[in-house]
Subunit: 478 residues, 2 copies
């Protein structure tokens, strides 16, 4: 199934509409297209269609243009979280069969220690210096083609590359548009990373529906407060941590501008207090639920139901089906959350998974539906910790720390934290003395800093089930 | 490919939003759903899923609800143009394998003379009187299932049933939304018939994007003028004749409200004068091009290009590809217009056609693309006459009139008409005397009145090519 080239279509349909607002500079779709096809022309001199190209950058104009340029030349973009360590990145480059790395120049020290034997690295600046004619855009794009890959650890703790097709991105954008009207003249605030699906999906919606993207290099609570009160933006994607900071920055007399249609909240449950504070300020927050495998939110709360359905993530979007267990359960039955639809990944790159069955995807999360079909997520997969909007998988941290000679046994759990919602802490059984400083030093090149346990608790033994499985819930209660 | 039940989804997402405004009464989606599932429950007692059910009604609440109820029970709705004669309708019932007729009670005289041997007829009022529990809605709908059939004569003059799947309707709605933002709070004016794709597609968009439909039983130019100047509606579908009447009703000091986003113009080319008069009045008219086979417009003009690209129908919508001839022609090459995309019918019911090749559909129309890809339609298929927004195929009229004993040869062509844009006239070769009154009497039960020639010109012979083909263009020049 082929559709018209998204960027071309958008440039033709609304050439003078705002496409990207970054660092106080506004770019129209026509200007953006021109830039992207210029970069795509340069890319074509080094990259072939279908090639897996890892991208290491941050939220800025160069990254934005490059993502679009890679799509235009038909490359598969492997998105690298820029907070990872060299060894984590090496693992991902290997797993994803990456044969080319593109990186922003401020990551050059990190790149210098990566394993680049099989994959040349080219900095954004070097790429820009290449000379080549602008690309003549392809007329169409296949909805089955893979646009992007992003790593997720899932419940196993081994990062897997989620493949996202153009069809996935399209279905995701459509589901969003059918819930919250999107169009030329709207502006979506993006301070979430472009290398996450939350950020990438904002870009995709922009191409498809002609909305502008207000791209932020770093989240700044005061600035978001200003944009919301002035009505400069109409939509925003935020994680709980951002919302907390926004509330800390503003007083109860603060009011969001009525032009703001939706503040989409991902990354964990929302409390009654948070919601009440937002409503007092007229901030139209809607909770949502989704993951890398669903190309952004698959379930979202209708705005006028937020107060009635506290604790719920809402209803499945238009193209997404949702069931608990086999789908024959009565309301309020807790069980596995399964999703199906055109927004769901065709699978993990190079890995079979029993999580995909007859078109259905087992999220690994557990929850229930109420009698009106609203989803309540009870427990995230594999005791997932969500910290500042980043997913942290305890098993991944445990695997790394078990490599330290002093640690015999370990269990990592999330504990509540005011600033980050949750942070990981570790329960360890040791057979020789070890300090936290030593463990920090050990983790330094192995694990991104945001995943490091914030505390280590020495215990004599870990609580286990009869079959030997660690009972994390007992640890969390401590 | 299954997606969530459109009506259920919409009722869940925006229960309190306006769904239908008819005769000054507003219905919310929740109320509409309740009504539709009540009717669907009654329908289930007489109709099975997959059954072909012809619908003979007019633009009103009962018809609106019934169309949705037929979708809910999984029937295939065969839309009957209520201006046709009994013999034309019999042909369509036969061709479409209709096994049930539903009709509005004011058509009972017409129904009394139809061939109902194989197909029971049930009036809307009788249906309403049935008692049955409300339908429990299906969770999903298949995008491959046929939702509707509508007859088109095409270039052959033999009416063919165009099958429109849910996927066709979805792609059509999406293409529209990506061009003109659609959402809850918007209101689409519908005075075009629900039994035409122009009307039906407004209903489908409403379910998918949550827009309200302002349904009009009859077109009233003054009322449209009022709605547009008050900004009660945000979108409208009109044909050229309606626009002319609107302009006749209003003076040059009239101004359309800025809340009106788009007035979508179908059914034939737009003149410079018409466009200038609309622009003077701030009416945001955009020309478009589409047909029953493309589930509404497949090509539309971006609003800010209307003035620059006079005479063009615009650019293909998001999911539609467009080519001239083989697609390798240079700009400005005139040739067959081909279309491809998820909005294109899978084919005519029960009929093979060479117009479908490798996923491409030959429209039968002729045109060219300019160097920016804008479509200019030069000639409609089979010398199509567009009169008051209705397609009239000369060959169909010719076939019927050749059945009159006095007529030896005939050629029907369209001539310009101020009120209807075009009307058919006939050039006839006769071997005995015949009056216009006799011919009108002959046509009475055979052909809908809007198709009748407005004048008959007696000629000694028709202009023909060396191979005997009638040269209609020579007749049009007379």
């Amino acid at each position: 199934m082929f559709v018209n080239n998204w960027l071309s279509q958008r440039v033709e349909q609304s050439p003078t509409a705002s496409a990207l607002i970054y660092d106080n500079e506004t770019t129209t779709f026509r200007e953006l297209g021109k830039r992207v096809w210029s970069i795509a022309g340069k890319l074509q001199t080094v990259i072939s269609p279908g090639q897996h190209v890892a991208l290491l950058g941050e939220n800025n104009r160069a990254m934005y243009e490059l993502i679009l340029a890679l799509q235009q030349i038909g490359a598969v973009t492997v998105f690298i979280n820029n907070r990872l360590t060299a060894s984590e990145i090496n693992y991902q480059l290997e797993q994803s069969d990456t044969t080319q790395l593109l990186y922003a120049d401020n990551f050059k020290e990190l790149v210098a220690v990566l394993d680049l034997a099989q994959r040349p690295a080219l900095s954004f600046v070097s790429l820009e210096k290449l000379t080549a004619p602008a690309m003549i855009p392809n007329k169409t794009v296949s909805l089955k083609a893979t646009a992007s890959m992003m790593f997720t650890s899932g419940s196993t703790g081994h990062p897997k590359a989620v493949q996202q097709t153009y069809g996935n991105h399209l279905a995701s954008a459509m589901g969003t548009a059918m819930t919250n009207a999107l169009g030329v003249g709207d502006c979506w605030y993006c301070a979430v990373p472009l290398f996450h699906i939350s950020g990438l999906s904002i870009m995709m919606r922009s191409l498809l529906f002609g909305t502008a993207v207000m791209l932020e290099q770093k989240f700044d609570a005061f600035r978001l407060g200003l944009l919301l009160t002035e009505g400069t933006i109409t939509h925003a994607s935020v994680v709980t941590t951002m919302l907390h900071r926004l509330l800390d920055t503003t007083s109860s007399t603060y009011r969001c501008h009525p032009a703001v249609k939706v503040v989409l909240l991902g990354g964990g449950p929302v409390t009654k207090e948070l919601l009440a504070a937002c409503q007092e300020r007229n901030i139209p927050v809607i909770p949502s639920y989704g993951m890398t495998e669903t190309a952004a939110q698959a379930v979202a709360m209708p705005l006028d139901k937020v107060a009635d359905k506290l604790g719920s993530a809402g209803l499945p979007l238009f193209q997404t089906q949702l069931r608990i267990n086999k789908g024959t359960e009565a309301a309020d039955t807790v069980g596995d959350i399964w999703l199906k639809g055109a927004n769901i990944t065709p699978g993990y790159y190079g890995k079979q998974s029993t999580d995909f069955q007859n078109g259905w995807f087992r999220t690994g999360d557990v929850g229930y539906l109420d009698n009106e079909g609203f989803l309540y997520v009870k427990e995230r997969a594999g005791d997932l910790i969500i910290s500042g909007g980043e997913n942290i998988y305890p098993t991944e941290i445990e695997h790394v720390l078990l490599g330290h000679p002093a640690i015999k046994e370990i269990a990592v759990v999330g504990v509540p934290n005011e600033q980050w919602t949750q942070v990981p802490v570790a329960y360890i059984v040791t057979d020789k003395a070890v300090t936290e400083a030593e463990l920090a030093h050990f983790l330094k090149n192995k694990l991104a800093k945001y995943k490091w346990p914030q505390a280590y608790y020495h215990v004599e033994k870990l609580p286990r089930t009869a079959t030997g499985k660690i009972q994390r819930h007992l640890l969390r209660q401590q």
